[in-house]
Each structure stands twice: as structure tokens, then as C-alpha cells.
Amino acid sequence: MSRYFYYHVIYVGLINIMLFVPWTLVHYRFNGAVSGMAIAAVAGTFLAYLTTSLYLRFPGMSLPDIVNSYLPRGFAVFLNLIGASLWVVAGILVIYSYSSTIQQFFNPDMNPYLFLLLMTAAGVWGASRSTRSVQFAQEIMLLISAPLIIMILFKAIFSPWLDWDAIRVTAGYVRTPPSFISFCAATFVFAGYNTLAVFNRLLPPGTQIRHRWIIPLVCSFFLLVSFFVPIGFHGTVGVAEYLYIWSVTADSMIMEYGFVYRVLYVFLLLYTALSLMFAMNTWHTAMEFIKACHPRHKPKPDQFPVSPANWWINLAFAGLTFGYALWTNEQRNQWVNQNWLIARTFSDVLAAVILGWLAVKAARRKRSPIPSEAASQDS
């Protein structure tokens, strides 16, 4: 069952491109991005190990369930709402930036809101499903897109146009003091473990997440690729000229055989899948956080057909997305993105601290066992 956990780790590691992580890192490439990444790899791995171990101490419980059953109600609702807002914003940001990418590279003469409508509709549709359905869809989408991911990554790394000198020069800036924002951006790549916040409900009790060394290995690889490959293609200076940095990088490659010539289109189709998966997961998680605020909430990870509340909450998220698209522009979107990356880093640490505290509390409570209603959930 733990394979589902690694699917989350992998697609969150890949989606960083849509949250402007490479752009942020490239921005600070001479002022502490490389050292920030190095620290982030260590910190991210540590947090991943710690948080997953803590979640496994609460078998079958999501973060909202844990918080609800060990903390006073008001405080629990407050924490759940914070969690929900962080997760919603993640989905909104990805959907918005993917829609604008498509607008620029695929359908330049289309009304931007029209494509946004399609993306939010698909996001609402995916996220309003039951947790188990989301997990199944997750697996299938990732396995379908895996060949493309591997193809593009290796095509990039082994491309003759990749200038290794530029990469070496940039890597030489590892001794500059790390910048905080690039540290936050880089930890995001490791943040796949956070999806346990809801998907822990589906891990059967007694599950062990083995092979956790995959996290540092795979995520560091993604981080290095998404930072260094654009530099290798565009040069140490030229790389800063682009906003949609990876779309331009993908467009630097061609496929010699087959119907499609420019890798860009394969890349964009791949990221349709990844962005929708990310939106589906984040909105689903946010929805579960909000549903957990209801006093008589019972988690139902395998509900069919789903309750109408799922639809309403997700439609509200879609409305928020349109509101955000109306308000934002390129500068504001950058600003929101960077602040979200910072807020996310803090919330990760906070979640680990709270979980650790509650784990100690739970261990003490075990001496006088009180059955927690949420723990008796059937996976």
C-alpha cells in the first residue's frame, strides 16, 4: 500500500515547475540558491522521515481527525481552516499558471477564462470524488505519464546542447550564504509526504513505509534537474530572461522520429496530467479539512456516490480560482507564489511539531485507553 505514498512524492516533486520553483531558484542563482538547495535537501529529507513516522503512529487517521480528537474544538477548527486554505491556494496557483502557460504556448488566441473554466471543471470533478477514487486515478495517471516523464528528463540530460560548463559555473556558487526564499522553494520539491494529511486514512493499520531513501534520491534528482537543466540550455545569464522557464527549455529539444517534432507539446500534455493531478489532490485534501470542521463529521474515504457537500465545497474553490484569475497578473502571481512557498515551509514544520506533541500526548493517554471515534475507520 505504501506505493501510493511514493506516487504523491513523485508528482509533487515534478509539479514544482508550475509553482515557479525553478524561476525563484534561478533568480537567486548567484546569491545563495545552490547552498539553499543543499540545505533544503537535508532539511526536506529530515522532515519527510519525521512526518511520515509520526503519521504512521496514528494509523487510519488523517491530520484533521488527529487534531479533532486530541485538541479542543475551537483550536482544532482553526488549525483545519489554516490547513485548508494552504492546500486550496496550492491548487489555485497551479491551475492558474498552467492555464496561462497553455494560453501562451498552445492556444494564444483563446479567451484565457475559457481554458481556466475547463481546468477548474476538471479539478472540481476530480477533487469531489472519494479519497479512494482519487488515489486510484492518481496511480493510473502517473503510470500513464511516467514514460513521457522519463523520456523528457533523459532527453534533456543527454542532449548535446546542454552546456555542462554553465552548470559547473553555477554550481560553483555553493559557498555563497543561502537565501531564505530559495531554501523554501527547494523544500517544496520534498513536500510529497504532506499528502498523508488525508491519504493516511487509506493506509491500512500496520503499514510500514519502506524504502524511504527513495525520497531524498528522487526528489534531489528532480530538484537538480529542474534547476540546472535550464541553466545548461540557456546559459548562466540568459536563463533569467524567461518566466515560463521550463516550457522554453522543453522547446529547446526536438524529437527526430515520430509525428511530433517539438518536445514542448509532449511536455505540455504531460503537465496537463500532472497539474490536474495536483489540483485534484490539493483540493480534495482542502475539502476534507473543511468537512472535518463540521462537529458531527465522520470520515468516509470510500463513499459512493459522493455527498453533495463535496460538490459545493469544490465549486467554491473553483469560484475562488476565477476570483484569483481576475485579481492577479504576472507580478502578483509571483508574489503570491513566493509567499505561499514560505508559508508552506512554516506550516510543514508546524505540522511536524503538532504531530510530535500529539503523539506524545497519545502515548500518555494510552495508559488509560479512550477509544477515539475516528480511529475505527474501515480503510
Binding site: V134, F136, I140, R262, Y265, L269, A273, F304, D378
Partner: protein, 441 residues
């Protein structure tokens, strides 16, 4: 007895009633000659007439399992309609089972044919079907539950499963669903599928219909439940997954690698038949730059004579092919070949030479049609046939990216479906998990 029955069947002139008198006894007899077969002669008439012996006759009444007491007058009408003979002997009422079975031959698989597997298929008779099933899956733990459904037709059906392997939760929900069945006439297994699915307007079937006894046997051995319906050549299987619809019985009989290759080809064909017309519209009308220049020019060159946008072209050709498929099912066999020849001529060359459609579109149409027929299951193949129109509509609005998004939505839809509480489309859910569910439940 005769008057009471006559008052129930006032205008039924085909009901035979008489008082038989052999000089010793007089018995009353009533039956429908059209529903009963020749067994009535050996079972009733011969012992009653020239071989009559009162003691022997009484002994026969008690020892022959075909004779049963029928003292409840409310049951009479029902028994007569099921092909029983009603008798009144020495003041007591008996029924004699003599229902006619029109089918005694085993059918040959027509819808799901195989190359080298068994060719036998279910018939329209329940008992022969049960025989065919017992022939392949004969274990003591095989359970058969009889039901009657349909307020007018009172069609007999059997729910068959292996009680060692079946998941009791699924059985419970099946019983609940069977209680809810509201039908006047139950004539085919398709009606039963509609009644058994919770939301009857699903895009994809969640109950498998099959005419092959070997498929039913192999599914029973996996703990699934089969429903056999009297008068239907198709058995129902549940719960099923998407992979069961894409699975031909040949896959179990052919060599390992060949069957793997063929099933990959089948899945590939499904993706093609769903997306190819949509992709044609998207590429021609929205994003020709996706393809390398040479191919883009080839496609555009072949469309040089076509005066309208690509989606109209697609609709023309798809209408033709759908009409052709429909015609070749409905037409009598003799005329059928004419339809295909004429249709083939139009689809093949004439439409393109007349400048109505492009050459590439003809290839697209034939790939779509052929790929659609690769799917082993008819109802699944029809669902897939429907899906491509959704993709065409989205491609008309959004181009290639719309097709990609809709493909995602389709996957989510399939993952969201449940067949009697079991996941419909999920990879690697092991059988051990199903068993652990069973232990819990």
C-alpha cells in the same frame, strides 16, 4: 376444480380441461397443451388408461418426484402457466411437472467467439445453462439460489456462486438490489442489468454479460457471482472490473506472450478509437503546429478539396459508419452483405473523390471502426463508441489540450465507479485484499 380454473381463465380457449374416466376412477385434468410436452403421456395417460392399477397409481403419485400436492387453489393458475398439469384424483389435487423445453441443443458462441477455446454457449433454457455450468464448474460448494422476477412474466432466475469464495458483503447488497427489482416483463439480461445498477444511467457497464460458460466458470472460481436468467442466452457476472470487459477468453488459452501482446493491442485500440476523431479535429483546426511540418502539410493537402471545417467532415463520416454498423445488425443476413458493399464503396473512395471528405479522414474513420470492434464485450464496446463523441465536442472547443483534460476526467470517472462496492478501475488491487474484506464482513 375445473369450474374454478375456468373462471380464472375465462377466454383462454387454449386451456384444455376434461374429466377422464377409465371405468374405475374419474379424474379431472387441466393443462395448456402449448406449454406441456410429451411427458404427459407416459406420466399420466398411460398409467391411467390401459395399464391402470389403482394401487400402482397411488404408489406412483407418492413416489414420482414430478407429482406434488397442489391443494392451495390460489397456486393453480400460476402452476398451469408454468407448464404443470393439474389433476384431481380421489378428491385430492396434484400437479404434474411437464413443462416443455423448446431448446435441447447447446448453442455455439456467436457474440464472443474464440479461435481455439470451447465453442459452447448458453442457451435460452435455464436447465441446460445450469448443466453447461456444472459441466465446467462442478464443486459441492456451488450454491444456486432460485428467484422469480417480473410481475407478469415471473421469469425464473438463478443466482449462482461458490460460497467458499464469495464476498458476503457483495452478496448482501445483491439481495438488497434484487428485492428492489420492479419489472413487468423480464425478457433479457440487459433489463436485469439496468435494474441491478444503482444509477441506471451509467456511461460504462458495471455488470458483465456473457454467453460463454467457460467465462462464467472462471469468474466463479474468482469468487464472483453469476445470475442465469430463463429465456436469456446471456449470464450476468458481478462484481467486475474494467479489465474483465477487455479480457477475451482466448487470453487464457493462448500462449503467455501472445495473449499479453494482444491485450496491449486491445487497450491501445480503445485509446485510439476514443481519441482519434477528436485529435483529427484538434490538429487540423487548432494546433497543426504540433505535428512535424511534413505531416502537417500532408494532412492539409489532403483536405484541399474539402470546403468546410474539419468537425463537419468528422460528423459526416462518423454518421456514415454508425449507420452502416446499425444497418448491418438490423438487416436480414441475406441483404446484409449488400449494405456492407455499398457502404464500403462510399466510405472507401467515392466520398473522397467527390470532395466531401479528405483521404486522411477515411483512414481515421476506418481505424476508429476497426479499433472499436477489437473490444471483446459488446456493451463495453458501445460505451466506448459513445465516448468518442464527447471527445469530439471538447476538441471542437478546446483543441488538443481539451482532449488531454477530458481524458483525465474520463480516468477519474472510471476510477470513481464501483461495481457492487468494489472498485471498477484500479491497478494491482490484490485478491488477498478482497479476502481480508470478507473476513471483516
Amino acid at each position: 376444480m375445473i369450474e374454478e380454473i375456468r373462471s380464472d381463465f375465462i377466454d383462454a380457449t387454449d386451456l384444455f380441461t376434461d374429466i377422464l374416466d377409465n371405468g374405475f376412477w374419474a379424474i379431472e385434468i387441466a393443462y395448456f397443451p402449448s406449454l406441456c410436452d410429451e411427458r404427459i403421456k407416459d406420466g399420466v395417460l398411460v398409467p391411467f388408461s390401459y395399464r391402470f392399477d389403482p394401487d400402482e397409481f397411488r404408489r406412483m403419485l407418492h413416489s414420482n418426484p414430478k407429482y406434488e400436492n397442489a391443494d392451495n387453489p390460489k397456486e393453480w393458475a400460476n402452476l398451469l402457466l408454468k407448464g404443470y398439469v393439474l389433476l384431481k384424483i380421489e378428491g385430492k389435487h396434484y400437479s404434474f411437472k411437464s413443462d416443455r423445453t423448446p431448446v435441447t441443443q447447446i448453442d455455439i458462441a456467436q457474440v464472443e467467439s474464440t479461435l481455439q477455446g470451447p465453442q459452447a454457449a448458453f442457451t435460452e433454457d435455464l436447465n441446460i445453462n445450469m448443466f453447461l455450468l456444472r459441466l465446467r464448474y462442478n464443486v459441492p460448494s456451488l450454491t444456486v439460489e432460485p428467484f422469480d422476477k417480473g410481475t407478469l412474466s415471473r421469469t425464473a432466475l438463478f443466482v449462482v456462486y461458490d460460497h467458499r469464495l464469495v464476498n458476503p458483503n457483495i452478496l448482501k447488497s445483491l439481495h438488497k438490489q434484487l428485492d428492489k427489482v420492479k419489472l413487468d416483463l423480464l425478457q433479457s439480461s440487459g433489463q436485469m442489468i439496468k435494474q441491478l445498477t444503482e444509477k441506471s444511467r451509467r456511461l460504462f457497464p458495471t455488470i458483465l454479460e456473457t454467453e460463454r460458460p467457460d467465462r462464467v466458470a472462471s469468474m466463479l472460481s474468482k469468487g464472483k457471482i453469476a445470475i442465469l436468467i430463463n429465456g436469456s442466452r446471456f449470464a450476468l457476472l458481478l462484481p467486475v472490473r474494467l479489465f474483465d470487459f477487455m479480457h477475451a477468453m482466448d487470453d487464457e488459452y493462448e500462449s503467455f506472450w501472445m495473449s499479453r501482446l494482444l491485450s496491449i493491442v486491445r487497450y491501445f485500440a480503445v485509446v485510439l478509437t476514443i481519441t482519434l476523431p477528436a485529435l483529427y479535429i484538434a490538429i487540423v483546426s487548432y494546433n497543426p503546429e504540433i505535428f512535424r511540418v511534413q505531416i502537417a502539410f500532408t494532412i492539409d493537402g489532403s483536405r484541399a478539396g474539402v470546403p468546410y471545417p474539419s468537425f463537419i467532415e468528422v460528423f459526416i463520416m462518423l454518421f456514415m459508419i454508425e449507420a452502416l454498423i446499425e444497418a448491418s445488425i438490423r438487416l436480414p443476413r441475406i441483404v446484409g452483405s449488400t449494405a456492407t458493399t455499398v457502404g464500403g464503396l462510399i466510405l472507401g473512395q467515392a466520398a473522397q473523390q467527390a470532395g466531401l471528405v479528405s483521404t486522411i479522414m477515411i483512414i481515421v474513420t476506418s481505424v476508429v471502426a476497426i479499433s472499436n470492434f477489437v473490444i471483446p464485450n459488446v456493451s463495453f464496446s458501445q460505451s466506448v463508441r459513445l465516448m468518442k463523441y464527447l471527445f469530439i465536442v471538447i476538441a471542437m472547443i478546446y483543441g488538443v489540450s481539451g482532449v488531454a483534460v477530458l481524458f483525465f476526467a474520463l480516468i477519474v470517472y472510471l476510477c470513481n465507479l464501483r461495481s457492487f462496492g468494489e472498485p471498477y478501475f484500479a491497478l494491482f488491487t490484490s485478491r488477498s485484499k478482497e479476502k481480508s474484506n470478507k473476513e471483516k464482513g
